[in-house]
């Protein structure tokens, strides 16, 4: 066969990696096809890289058989027993499961043909195994799971404390994730699934039910969907409602309000009578921001729409964000708040991925990357210029 390595090795590897990112563009596809047809050696290199790529999916199996140390296994011995991805993420985040876990949260990561897949196992719900002692340490970030039985016409309140993320599975198959310090009221009617977002942020993965629209009402707006996944955020300290759509399509509409006739002569959209107001459609990838008097739709910001829901896994991301925004966001999850002292530190820029369970380690990371120092006091934590 070919000697050692072909000079096209790196290019072929690059293309295979791009192909499996799922984000290859039309232009990239043309470029790749051009490259493949330009020279038979290109095509050969590509096919061979693909073959090694395909084969490597079986690495776990062989690693398991001869107990070799691979990178994936160096963490703990737990890795030797195949676990569903969700459990692994949960363990990785040292999350305490509280309540009854009735949802089978097994995720089929790879559907290999043939029997070459020891990793795919049904996840036995393990409420006790994963349950960590409910520590009195109230500052710890935690994720909880629960399933809600909802008799028709009954209203139930769900809320989370500061530092808690809760995944709730409703009767109809829909899944709601509540972010820190948030509250919703759920009413299941025969003709409508009605959710009221009282405060905070929630992610909805709505089970399709053509006869029962899923309606999320906030103070000002009403969001109607048939089946989709989206994120809604309305914080009492933010006057803006943010809706990020991950999949499908939702309609946002100003709520009819009898109390405030609003005599304003606004340019289009708002009908003062409140009875027949314009609907705003959001598609997958859209982020809509709605305030009393305006609405801004950012179209097809897919990355950001995705980022808007990483909190569900206990992760917050920042990209070149001012420190004051970062701290504000982190404080949402914290009992012991962080305060910035001095305007010079407020606008320092920082990028990063923060795992909320890391608690105060986040502060060390900030102190290590920015010219600031962290002072921990009983009540509060201060960040000042160094």
């Amino acid at each position: 066969m070919s000697n050692a390595t072909s000079p096209f090795e790196a290019v072929a590897s690059y293309w295979v990696t791009r192909l499996y990112s799922g984000e290859m563009t039309a232009q990239e596809e043309r470029e790749l096809q051009r490259w493949r047809t330009a020279d038979v050696r290109h095509e050969q290199a590509f096919e061979e890289a693909l073959a090694v790529w395909d084969l490597s999916a079986q690495l776990y199996r062989s690693a398991n058989e001869n107990n070799a140390q691979t990178g994936a296994q160096e963490k703990t011995s737990e890795r030797s027993t195949p676990k569903p991805l969700w459990t692994k993420l949960a363990i990785a985040a040292s999350i305490a499961f509280i309540g009854v876990l009735t949802v089978v949260t097994f995720i089929p990561t790879v559907d290999k043909p043939q029997a070459s897949q020891p990793r795919i196992v049904e996840a036995a719900p393990q409420p006790t195994a994963a349950e960590e002692p409910a520590t009195p340490n109230s500052t710890a970030f935690r994720i909880t799971n629960q399933a809600a039985q909802m008799p028709l016409e009954q209203t139930r309140l769900f809320n989370t404390k500061v530092g808690e993320v809760s995944h709730i599975r409703l009767d109809d198959g829909s899944q709601v994730s509540l972010n820190t310090d948030s509250a919703i009221r759920v009413t299941m009617r025969s003709d409508e699934r009605h959710i009221e977002l009282l405060n905070g942020e929630a992610f909805f993965d709505v089970a399709k039910d053509a006869n029962r629209p899923f309606v999320v009402a906030t103070e000002e707006q009403q969001i109607t969907v048939l089946g989709t996944a989206f994120n809604v955020r309305q914080r009492s300290d933010e006057k803006v409602l943010k809706v990020a759509v991950i999949e499908g399509r939702v309609a946002v509409k100003r709520r009819a309000k009898a109390t405030s006739p609003e005599p304003t002569a606004q340019a289009n959209a708002v009908d003062p009578s409140g009875s027949d107001v314009a609907e705003q459609f959001l598609l997958a990838g859209d982020i809509g921001a709605f305030s009393d008097h305006s609405k801004v739709i950012q179209q097809q910001q897919f990355e950001q729409a995705q980022v808007s829901q990483t909190w569900r896994r206990g992760i917050v991301r920042f990209d070149d964000a001012p420190l004051k925004n970062v701290i504000k966001e982190l404080n949402r999850y914290r009992q012991r708040k962080i305060a910035l002292q001095g305007s010079s530190v407020e606008d320092l820029k920082i990028s990063g991925v923060f795992h909320l369970k890391n608690g105060d380690a986040i502060l060390n990371a900030i102190a290590a990357t920015l010219p600031v120092q962290v002072l921990k006091e009983q009540e509060q934590i201060y960040i000042t210029a160094r």
Binding site: A4, G22, E74, P108, Q175, Q306
Partner: protein
């Protein structure tokens, strides 16, 4: 109809709606992926694989629940399914081809690597190759190795890996490409040695 049967029927109906929605939403990415993997612009070949993907998805019980856990990586999940189906096809085609050629045993022409890997009787050779790859990966930087294994073995998307390792998505892509190169070199070297 028993309640259980009714529930499972309702589930299936909901599941079909979901599958149609999924395929509609990711159709461009899926078709692109299939075209590249098949190295074919033939519309009908692409349609065939898509049809297989549909069938495969409809066989998965409780698909909505399973997808709920990987909302941001639905597309990767679909690509992975398409990928497996294509590999399976290639393997079956290879078996057919070898059966056809059983009579004229004289042709000692080289079998390309990608055919070898897909042929079932080469599993022993594959095992050796896997060990080879494993050893090669040990020589990599830990983050490179980890990124590669998280994707290939654990099935995480680049974005999930980026979250987990705290690195940018483009860095993750570079790590994975580097690891693949390294694995490929290890295999090529073995062939050279023999």
């Amino acid at each position: 109809m028993s309640e259980k049967a009714w529930v499972s029927k309702a589930r299936r109906a909901a599941s079909h709606g979901l599958i149609e929605r999924l395929l509609a939403e990711h159709t461009f990415a899926l078709r692109r992926f299939i075209r590249v993997r098949l190295h074919s612009e033939q519309q009908h070949e692409c349609d065939d694989v898509l049809q297989d993907v549909y069938m495969r998805l409809s066989q998965i019980e409780d698909l909505p629940v399973k997808l709920a856990g990987r909302l941001d990586t639905t597309r990767n999940y679909l690509l992975q399914i398409a990928s497996n189906l294509i590999i399976d096809r290639a393997r079956r085609a290879q078996v057919r081809k070898q059966a056809d050629h059983v009579s004229n045993t004289s042709d000692q022409e080289e079998v390309p690597l990608y055919c070898e890997i897909y042929s079932p009787e080469r599993s022993l050779a594959n095992k050796r190759k896997l060990q080879r790859i494993e050893r090669a990966l040990q020589k990599l930087r830990p983050t490179q190795r980890k990124a590669f294994l998280l994707h290939r073995v654990e099935g995480l998307s680049y974005r999930e890996i980026s979250d987990q390792l705290g690195l940018s998505v483009s860095t993750i892509e570079k790590h994975i490409a580097a690891a693949l190169s390294c694995a490929r070199q290890a295999i090529a070297k073995e062939e050279h040695d023999e």
